[in-house]
Every structure is written in C-alpha cells, then in structure tokens.
Amino acid sequence: MNYTYVLLSILIMALVTYLPRMLPLVLFRKTIENQFIKSFLAYVPYAVLGAMTFPGILFSTSPDGGFSLIYFLGGLAGMLVAMVLAYFNRGLLLVAVSSVVVAFIMQELLGFIM
C-alpha cells in the first residue's frame, strides 16, 4: 500500500470538504440570488448519488468487481429490496442492512443450487 498516495488523497478530500464549508461562512453575508445556480446546487447531491449507485450496485458484491452471475443476482435482489424499503421510507440503517442480508441469502442459495 502506497501511504503517500493515501495520505495525500485524504489531505485533498479534507481540504475540499472544509473550504466550501468555511469560506462562505467567513467571507460572505449575502445569499445567492441566481435561481439557476441555487437549483443546480440543490439537485447535485441526488445526481451524484444516482450515478454512484447505478449500475455499480449490481456488481458491488462481486469480489473482483467484475461480472459473475451469482453475485450479479445477489446484487440485483439486494437492490430491489433496498428500493422497495426506501420507497416506504424505512430508515437508512434498515435499508442498508436488509440489502446486505438479502444479497447474502441470494448468493448462498444460488451457490448451493448451481
């Protein structure tokens, strides 16, 4: 493991997280009036999470990140369960844990059958 790389990456992450929080609070007193920019910023987190989740979730349980039918189906089952539970506003922890449990059961079941 290259720790120089890891530590430098962490430094970048920390700075890029801190500066957007710190600068406006220290420097500005006015709010942004531009509706497009405000709307854009409000939508960004959803777009980021959407792109991060799909289709990555389907391969998230595969040990090497590649395609393997058993892991793919496990991921698919976990994804569907997470979507249904999230739709009914279940808590974050319950949704996350349920997707793990379902993916695990699916993998084990398919591994047993196939």
Binding site: V6, M13, L25, F28, M52, T53, F54, L92, A96, V100
Partner: protein, 267 residues
C-alpha cells in the same frame, strides 16, 4: 416546490439530502443574542450522533473492505466529517484514482456546503468572530445545518459547538467500530457487505424522489448517463470519477433549467 417538513433530528440519517433544499431558505436576521447553551447543543446533537454511528460504521467497513487499515478510516472521518464525499473518496482511493479526480469529485459533491454555509452565515450571531466561524464551519454537516436552522432566532458559538461535538464523536466512534469489527467476518458476509453503501444511497435518494418529480427526473437522467458510460464500449474506458461528474453536471443543469426551485415565501 412545496416547503418540506422540517427535518426531524431522529430521522436525520435518512434526511441528509432533504437539507439540500432547506438551505435555500434563510430566516430574516434578528439582532438579539442567542440564549441557546452549549449543553442544549450537546443534547440536540444526540439524535444526529446516533444516526451517524450507523452510517460511519458502514464507512469504516467500506474502507477495510477496500484493503486499507482501520486508522485510515478513522483519519478520514476525523478530518473530513462528511458522508457522501468520504464514500466517493474512498472508492477513488481504492481504485487508484488520480489526485485531480479526487479533487474534482469531492468538490462536486461538496459544493452544496457552500450554499449551506451561506445560509448559516445569516443565522449565526453577528458578533461571532472569524476564528469561531472558521472553526465551527468544519462541523457544518447536512444534519447539523438542518438542526441549527430550525432554532428560533440566532444561534451562537456555544450552541453550535455542542451541536457539532456529539455528532462528531458518533461519526468517529462509528467509523472505528466499523473498521475494526469487519476483519473477523467470513468472506461470504464481507462480500455481501459491499452492497451496504449502495443500499444507504438508495434510502437517501428515493424518499425525496417520491415527493418531488424534479428530483426523480434528476436521478433518472443521471442513472441513464451512468449506465450509458458503463455499458458502451469506448465510453466505459473513462474512470468512475469523471463519469460521476458528467452525470451530476448534466442532470442537475437540465433540472435547474427545466425545474427551477422556487424561493420559499413563508420564511
């Protein structure tokens, strides 16, 4: 857009993104001095702390899953103190992403904090000095922001310190636990745990998508572009970091153009 219900602290772990809109509203400034105490801040921070324990636990597991030692997880949580940005960052570190990807991806995810800090700057006491502002802004997470903005009148440095401290401890402790417990788990379970972060993301984006059509459209566009990049032969050479940026900018810009968020009149 309708004003959403106030984010309740007890549900704050699933309400991270709700606050993305709450930050668009700033209450009219009042000059009175805040009566909110440090102790009150600690108490108000407790529900956030509990929510953070579970999310940070998942983060700690994800880091160790990626082949990194527990201290890396704890260091990231203590220096960054953010949810999505940390998950994206660790995914990039594990996949050996470049520094520029790290910088741009983390920045894209974190630009919402500029807006929140901007709103918070209207909410805090005018007498708060630069050093206090610089220190407290470190703890301006989505949930801390949401709770601070719910208070009547202005909030002061004492209250904010307390409101940040309890969640910070929960975030750090949760990360440590998640990172250290994972090593004892058998392979089949560790493999299934890979889906946990994604399950969490789904639980964050689906409830607001259900409430607002515009958010649902943003997510659909972003996911469509993401899938396109994943399965199209030449496009799939591009690394995840850039794909996320392209998806986020395209989907958000389109939605901001088509569905601008209206200013909230009542506050």
């Amino acid at each position: 857009m309708d004003r959403k219900e106030k984010t309740h602290p007890a549900e704050s772990d699933s309400a991270e993104l709700d606050s993305a809109e709450e930050n668009l509203t700033a209450k009219a400034p009042e000059e009175e001095r805040s009566h909110l105490t440090f102790r009150r801040g600690l108490r108000d921070g407790l529900p956030i702390c509990l929510g953070y324990l579970s999310v940070a636990f998942t983060f700690g597991m994800a880091v160790v899953e990626g082949g990194l030692p527990p201290w890396v997880a704890v260091l990231i949580s203590m220096t960054c103190f953010t949810g999505t940005g940390q998950f994206a960052g660790i995914a990039l570190i594990v996949s050996g992403g470049t520094y520029i990807e790290m910088l741009v991806t983390t920045f894209i995810i974190n630009i919402r904090y500029m807006l929140m800090s901007l709103s918070l700057s209207q909410k805090i006491e005018k007498r708060m000095n630069g050093i206090e502002r610089a220190l407290l802004s470190f703890g301006n997470t989505d949930e801390v922001f949401a709770v601070a903005m719910q208070q009547e009148g202005k909030v002061g440095a004492r209250y904010l310190s307390g409101l940040i401290l309890t969640p910070y401890l929960g975030w750090t402790l949760g990360t440590l636990l998640g990172a250290t417990v994972t090593g004892f788990l058998p392979f089949a379970i560790r493999s299934a745990l890979g889906i946990a972060i994604y399950g969490m993301f789904i639980s964050i984006i689906i409830p607001p998508a259900r409430k607002m059509k515009s958010v649902a459209i943003v997510i659909l566009i972003s996911v469509a572009i993401s899938c396109l990049f994943y399965w199209t032969p030449v496009l799939n050479q591009l690394s995840d970091g850039w794909v996320i940026i392209i998806c986020a900018v395209a989907a958000s810009a389109f939605a901001a153009w088509k569905f601008p968020i209206k200013e909230d009149k009542q506050s």
